[in-house]
C-alpha cells in the first residue's frame, strides 16, 4: 500500500469503558489505527483483548449504558462518526460501513426470507424500488456464490447451511458498496473446508470490488493467508502493528513472539512439546498503570510494573504506518528501549 494515501478510516485514541456494579472495566484503552483504501487489516487477539469491542464502539453498536466511549476520534473520510447524530449514524452503518458477524444464524432474522434481508439495505439506503432491489439482490447472491440464487431468495435462513448463511451475510454487507467492511470472526463458527471457501470468496471479492476490510480473528493462520497488515491486541491495547510478512518474520513484542511459538502448525517441524504462555489474560479492572502483559512476560523490567509502554516505531515511519510495538523491551539488544 502506498504510504500517504488518505486513510478511509482513521481511529485515534479510542477508549471504551463498561460501567459495571463491580467498577469500570477498561475494555479498550487508547486504540489507534487506520485503514488504507483497498487494504485488508487483520486484528488478532484472544477473547477479552478488546478487538470486537473496538469495532463495535466505532460504529456505535454497543449498548450504552453500560458501555461508554470516554474518548477518541473515528474519522470516516472527513467525518468524526463518534460525534454524528444517531440518524446520521444509521445512514453510515450498512451504507458506508458493512459488517459481517461471527455467527450467521443469530445475525440473520429467522422470520424473514433471505431475499427480504438482502433487499432491505438496498431499499433503505440506495433508493431502489422493489423490482430494482430484487434484481440487485439476486446479483449479489450470485456474486457471493449462492447457487440458484433467484429461487433461494424465497428461502428462510434456517434452510441455508452455515457457510451459505455467512455468504448471505457478506452479500448484505456488500449490498450498498461500502468503503469499509468489518468482518468480526467471520469464519470462526465454520468448519475448515467451509472457512477455506469463505476466505477464497473474500479474496475474490476484494479484487473485484476493492473495498477496505478489517478482519478480526484469533486465528493467526487465517491472518497469515489473507491480511496485508496486522494489529495485535492484548488487554484492550494494540501491542504491535506491522505488515503481515514483517510481523511473522520479525515479531517484536514478547506476547506476539510467544503466541507465534505456542501455536502448532500442520506443516513445518513438529515441536516435541508446545511452548506455553504461563498465566491468564488480564482482567481489565482499572485503567492500566503497568504493561498489561507484564505478569506473563518473560522479559519484564522494573519499569514495566510502573509504566504502560506507548507504541514506538521500529523504523523511520510514523506509528501505525510501519512496524511499531508497545513494549519497554528491545528485542534486538535485550535491554530497555
Amino acid at each position: 500500500m502506498p504510504d500517504g494515501a488518505k486513510p478511509v478510516l482513521d481511529v485515534r485514541g479510542l477508549q471504551t469503558v463498561f460501567r459495571t456494579r463491580g467498577g469500570d472495566v477498561h475494555a479498550v484503552n487508547s486504540v489507534s489505527f487506520h485503514l488504507e483504501p483497498g487494504e485488508l487489516l487483520g486484528v488478532v487477539g484472544e477473547s477479552g483483548s478488546g478487538k470486537s469491542v473496538t469495532m463495535m464502539s466505532l460504529i456505535g453498536l454497543l449498548p450504552m449504558p453500560p458501555a461508554e466511549i470516554r474518548g477518541g476520534q473515528v474519522m470516516l473520510g472527513d467525518m468524526d462518526i463518534l460525534k454524528v447524530s444517531p440518524a446520521q449514524l444509521r445512514e453510515i452503518r450498512g451504507k458506508r460501513i458493512g459488517f459481517v458477524f461471527q455467527d450467521p444464524m443469530t445475525s440473520l432474522n429467522p422470520v424473514y426470507t433471505v431475499g427480504n434481508q438482502v433487499m432491505e439495505p438496498l431499499l433503505r439506503h440506495m433508493g431502489l424500488n422493489k423490482t430494482q432491489a430484487r434484481a440487485r439482490a439476486i446479483e449479489l447472491l450470485e456474486l457471493v456464490g449462492i447457487p440458484d440464487a433467484e429461487r433461494r431468495m424465497k428461502d428462510y435462513p434456517h434452510q441455508f447451511s452455515g457457510g451459505m448463511r455467512q455468504r448471505v451475510m457478506i452479500a448484505i454487507a456488500l449490498a450498498c458498496d461500502p468503503e469499509v467492511l468489518i468482518a468480526d470472526e467471520p469464519t470462526t463458527a465454520l468448519d475448515v473446508t467451509i472457512q477455506a471457501q469463505i476466505i477464497e470468496l473474500v479474496k475474490d471479492l476484494r479484487s473485484k470490488l476493492g473495498m477496505a476490510i478489517v478482519w478480526i480473528t484469533h486465528d493467526l493462520g487465517v491472518i497469515a493467508g489473507i491480511a496485508d497488515r496486522v494489529v495485535v491486541m492484548y488487554g484492550g491495547q494494540i501491542v504491535e502493528q506491522a505488515p503481515v510478512g514483517e510481523l511473522f518474520a520479525n515479531p517484536q513484542h514478547p506476547y506476539t513472539r510467544a503466541l507465534l511459538k505456542t501455536i502448532p502448525s500442520v506443516s513445518g517441524t513438529r515441536e516435541k512439546r508446545l511452548r506455553v504462555i504461563e498465566g491468564q489474560p488480564p482482567i481489565l479492572g482499572a485503567a492500566p498503570t503497568a504493561c498489561p502483559f507484564m505478569p506473563r512476560c518473560t522479559e519484564a523490567f522494573a519499569v514495566c510494573h510502573v509504566e504502560n509502554p506507548q507504541r514506538r516505531p521500529l523504523d523511520d515511519k510514523r506509528v501505525g504506518y510501519g512496524h511499531d510495538v508497545a513494549c519497554h523491551w528491545d528485542a534486538k539488544t535485550g535491554g530497555i528501549a
Binding site: T193, I263, V266, S267, R275
Partner: protein, 339 residues
Amino acid sequence: MLDANPTEQSSANSAAKLVEVKDLKMYFPIHTGLFRRHTGDVKAVDGLSFDIFKGETLGLVGESGCGKSTVGRALLRLYELTNGSVTIEGEDIAKLSPEALRRKRPTMQMVFQDPQACLNPRMTVAAIISEPLDEHTKLSSAEKLEKVYELMDAVGLNRAFANRYPHAFSGGQRQRIGIARALALNPKFIVCDEPIAALDVSIQAQVVNLLEDLQEQFGLTYLFISHDLSMVRHIADRVAVMYLGRIAELSPREPLYAEPLHPYAKALLSAVPDPDPEREATRQRIILQGDVPSPSNPPKGCNFCTRCPEVIPICHEVKPELAEVRPGRFVACHLVKPD
C-alpha cells in the same frame, strides 16, 4: 490410588489393544407424523472398526456433524449402540449388564468440551473431584480429601482453592478441574471430546501439555477428538479422519500429514490455514464445493462422492471399504489401492 505405575505394565506389551471397535453403528431414529412413526435414521456413525493401543493417543478429526463426538460417547456407552461391539480390556461393553457396566466405568472416563457446562455450579471443586470417589470407592472422608489434593496437584490447581466454586475459575482452570475428576478413579482410557476447543490459544497449549504429562505419568490411553488438525498433529500418535459417519483414512501421524491419501484428508489438510505468510502465499488449496450431505440421507456409494474432486463412476455405486493400503495406513477409497 494415584499409582504412577498402573498394575498392568503398559510398557510390557506396547502394541496391545486396549480398545477394539468392530462395525460400530449409531443411528438416531427420526419419528414423524401424527403417530410418530419411525421414518428414517440419522446415521451419525455408520460402521466404524478400529483399535486403540495401550498408551497411545488416537486423534479423531473431522468437521462438525461427521459423528466424531458420537463415536466418543458410544465408546463409553453413553448411548446404547445400534450395532457393533466395543471391547475394552477384553470385555464387550456394548453387552454388559448395567451393574457390570457400572463396575467397568472407573477404567474409562471422559473430558468434555465445555468446562463451564460440565461442572455443577453449586458444588465446590473438592466436591466435584471427589464425586467419582463417593460413587465407586469406600474411602473415608479424610482419604478422599487427601486424594482430591493429590489430584489437584497433578493437574496444577492450587490446593487452597479446593473449597471454591467453578465460577471463580477461568476456562483453562475449569478444564483442569474436569481433567482431575476424570483422573480420580485411575482410569486407563480417557475420551477427550474437544477439550481445548473452548479455550484461548495461549491457554490451549497449557492444557495440551498437561494432558501429555498426565499420559506419561499414569500410562493413559486417549481418544482425542478435535477439529483442530494442527493440535491433533501435535498430540496424536495416529489419526483417524472421519467424514459423514465413516472413517476416510486412519494413519500414523507423520505419514498422514506429510502425504494424505484419501481425497477428503487431502482437502481437509489443505484447508487448514498455516501461520506463515510465505507458505500461505505459495500453497495450493483444494477448495471443496458445496456442503456436507445430511447424515439422514447419505449419498449412495462412497459418502464423499458428492464433493470429491477425484470422483470416478464406481464411487457413486460401491461403498469403498477401509483397507490397509500401506503398512499401518487404512484408507477407504476406490482410487487408493494397496502397493
